[in-house]
């Protein structure tokens, strides 16, 4: 390691104060109601107004969209661009054109994403990344290339081989390509220090998200999952620095808010890592008597499980974090048969959960094929679970509420 690459956290923090981040004044008053209302507004906004105003605030600003499940947002940030998570159209978007692109047996997220695209709502994006998660999103990358020819479009592959010398080398190279492409897009080089700065910024964000999850797991009545969801979701459109601040503010006010404790059971929700369920589904689960104490929503915010080192080669650091300290989900190959499902068992233990709710999008091969293996792992440990499917535009929540309610009752009965 050369001296030049040896950066300290202090150096980086100093840069943070003056760096390329866009600290804007708070868009909400620091109280619980306002914070949640602000997040709800961002969530409801299918026109990406917040993104547009960020872009318009300074000439030359650029925005890169990305889909689930994971992209190294640090590289986008280091280029001075805004990473924006595209999570589909939810249940409020009327899909008119999107259905003409997909057969009935394909999940909803690609069609609502196409709808967002062809209706001009994604015009604000200068490019789009399609991560390696499944064949639907993979093929959507090609569709995007055919349909939006003036945009930067990239399928972002990640290794399924976790050796530094094999998968790591491949991954570093893929990230380098992204870095070079972005440098061209913004018209300037992305230096190692730019990357280190962005890693530091995202480390802070990951820490804040972790704190939010830990806070909820400790006292789920203090941070309802509807709020936690909205807060994390806000991170899909806000500049990361603002998002981190938002989370900190929420934690501060939520800690002192007096909220009633309910006789709910504690569950982990699994399978929601790509197509998002209707917001009502999260509400319904809670109303049915289940506190969600962990989940796999928007894993991009929690993909890397440890602080990524700032000193040394930044891409190598991101690679090592990806290979050795990253979250598990169906999009990943588990090389060790005995470790299949271990992450869920760990989550149950670490979060004192009493059961798992498998909620998977209809027609989602990764989630639905993974599910029986995860269920076997849970069954071997006597961990109760229940399962259902949803679509992002599912209207009827009654069956889900009933199923979650029955599950909650049975858990209480078992533990009585």
């Amino acid at each position: 390691m050369t001296d030049k690459t040896q950066k300290t956290t202090a150096d980086i923090s100093a840069k943070l104060e003056t760096g390329n981040s866009s600290k804007t004044s708070l868009m909400y008053r620091k109280n619980l109601k306002d914070i949640v209302a602000y997040c709800q507004e961002l969530f409801d906004d299918l026109d990406f107004k917040a993104v547009k105003s960020w872009k318009e605030a300074k000439p030359g600003r650029k925005v890169i969209g990305y889909m689930p499940v994971y992209v190294p947002r640090e590289i986008i940030h280091a280029a001075g661009m805004l990473p924006v998570g595209i999570m589909g159209g939810g249940d409020q978007l009327e899909v008119i054109h999107g259905d003409a692109y997909y057969q009935s047996y394909i999940c909803r997220i690609p069609r609502s994403t196409i709808e967002l695209g062809v209706t001009g709502r994604l015009d604000v994006l200068d490019g789009m990344l399609f991560p390696s998660i499944c064949d639907v999103i993979r093929n959507l990358s090609g569709m995007w290339k055919l349909m939006f020819k003036d945009k930067y479009v990239r399928y972002f592959d990640v290794p399924q081989n976790y050796e530094d010398e094999i998968g790591g080398k491949f991954y570093i190279h893929e990230m380098q390509t992204l870095r070079d492409d972005f440098a061209k897009l913004v018209g300037h080089e992305i230096t190692d220090d730019d990357l280190r700065n962005s890693i530091a910024v995202y480390n802070e964000n990951r820490k804040a998200v972790e704190e939010l999850y830990a806070f909820r797991a400790k006292g789920p009545w203090k941070a309802p999952s509807t709020e936690v969801y909205l807060l994390v979701r806000a991170g899909m459109v806000l500049p990361v620095e603002e998002h981190t601040q938002l989370l900190k503010d929420y934690l501060e006010v939520a800690a002192v808010e007096d909220r009633p404790v309910r006789d709910n059971c504690r569950v982990v929700v699994s399978g929601v890592f790509c197509e998002q369920p209707p917001f009502n589904m999260i509400k319904s689960i809670e109303m049915a008597g289940c506190y969600i104490v962990d989940d796999d929503f928007m894993l991009v915010t929690r993909w890397l499980l440890q602080e990524v080192p700032i000193s040394g080669d930044p891409l190598e650091n991101l690679s090592k974090a990806f290979l050795h300290h990253s979250n598990d989900t169906a999009a990943k190959y588990e090389p060790d048969v005995d470790k299949k499902g271990k992450y869920l068992i760990d989550s149950v233990r670490d979060n004192s959960a009493e059961g798992i709710i498998f909620a998977g999008p209809s027609f989602c091969d990764p989630a639905l094929l993974d599910r029986p293996m995860l269920q076997n792992a849970l069954a071997a440990k006597d961990i109760p679970f229940t399962s259902f499917e949803y679509a992002e535009n599912s209207g009827q929540m009654q069956p889900i509420r009933e199923q979650a309610g029955t599950f909650a009752d049975s858990i209480k009965l078992w533990s009585a």
């Binding site: 047996y105 290339k145 055919l146 080398k169 491949f170 190959y333 048969v337 091969d365 094929l369």
Partner: protein, 434 residues
Amino acid sequence: MPKKAPPTAIKEQSMEIQKSMIADNFRQLYDAPKTDQKVVSTFVPGNLNELLMCFDFARNLPEINALQNAMRKRTGRMIMEAERAGHSEDVCTYVKADLGMMAQGNIGPTGEALPTPDLLLLSYTGCFTFMKWFELVREQYKCETAMLHVPYQGDGVITPNMREYVVKQLKEDIIPTLERVSGVKFDIDRLRQYLRQSAKAEEDLVWVLQSAKNKPSPIDAYFGGVYYVGPIFSSFRGSEGAAEYYAMLRKEVEERVRLGKGPVTPEGEMPEEKYRLVVEGPPNWTHFREFWKMFYEEGAVVVASSYTKVGGVYDFGFRHDPDNPIETLADYCLGCYTNLNLPHRADMLSQYVEEYEADGLLINSIKSCNSFSAGQLLLLREVEKRTGKPGAFIETDLVDPRYFSAANVKNRLESYFQMIKQKREGNAPLGAAA
């Protein structure tokens, strides 16, 4: 009234040979526990057959089992068995047919028990589902596993980084694992020899596939094509037998071209070629004959198809190269059809429509297969736009009989043929109809 006997299938000599090759392979698999031969299970796209032969493995291919079972009408029950065991109705039925078969005693298509593999080799090429399928069978076999991750051609090219990644995995992970499990030392010259035979077979296969440019086409490049690619996509590529098979097939087809004959169908030679089609997507296996009949009855012949490229795209020049044995394996895996991006697939299909002078593109969209199917409606529009030829879209499944609606498919096809006719008449120069 006595039931009419089904027509006896008319077969060419090459088909008979192929049948016995397949039977021999199953025999080898069934006998493996007695002969102590090591068995590997691996998938069709991106399979490393030549490499596996270097270690004397018997090769078991789950997709081949599933399609063979489907043609024998057995997969319906197998799929239901898997669904009863907790698998979703929504997921790929190849996977469920395989799991259902295992749950019913792992009896192979020809009626004997398949051996437990000594190694699962996942060449994760062109389909994400393979990864989950592989994890699911691993859970049951609990045997040694190896995984080759083949990156996707997102930008439509094989970059040096992609190639190096695959080569590295082969050298540092796959080959040492194969050596360890088989107890056989890797001999690169043996690999070169097999690759030489592959290239020979590939040359002849391409000639056969391209013979469909003739009018009439001497082959059906989809329904007949799936037989033609059988050996090269499965456990035979690289073998002397496969090279001989393709040499013989080529001779047969050369003769058909010389005589100006059309393709052989299960009911004999097709008398008149009325429509020439390019087909995208896998066939339906549960009603294969019935499906095919809907075409040949109407005089429709498939002149090019993408399905015959899933186990390797050879008609744009790629051949296994004995001089670069490991790199060539990487390029082969990276180049399989479902590993190509959508723009590349649109280029290829448009080129087929034009070069094979087809009347248009027909897509058989498979419910099971996101890898093929996601994006096909755009592909259809794109190819129509580029070629000016009408397209059509039908939906079936690979091995789930519940998703083959004969009446619907037939209706769609009939109106498509009608449309082609009208289009032709409309485009015909004045006076041509006289």
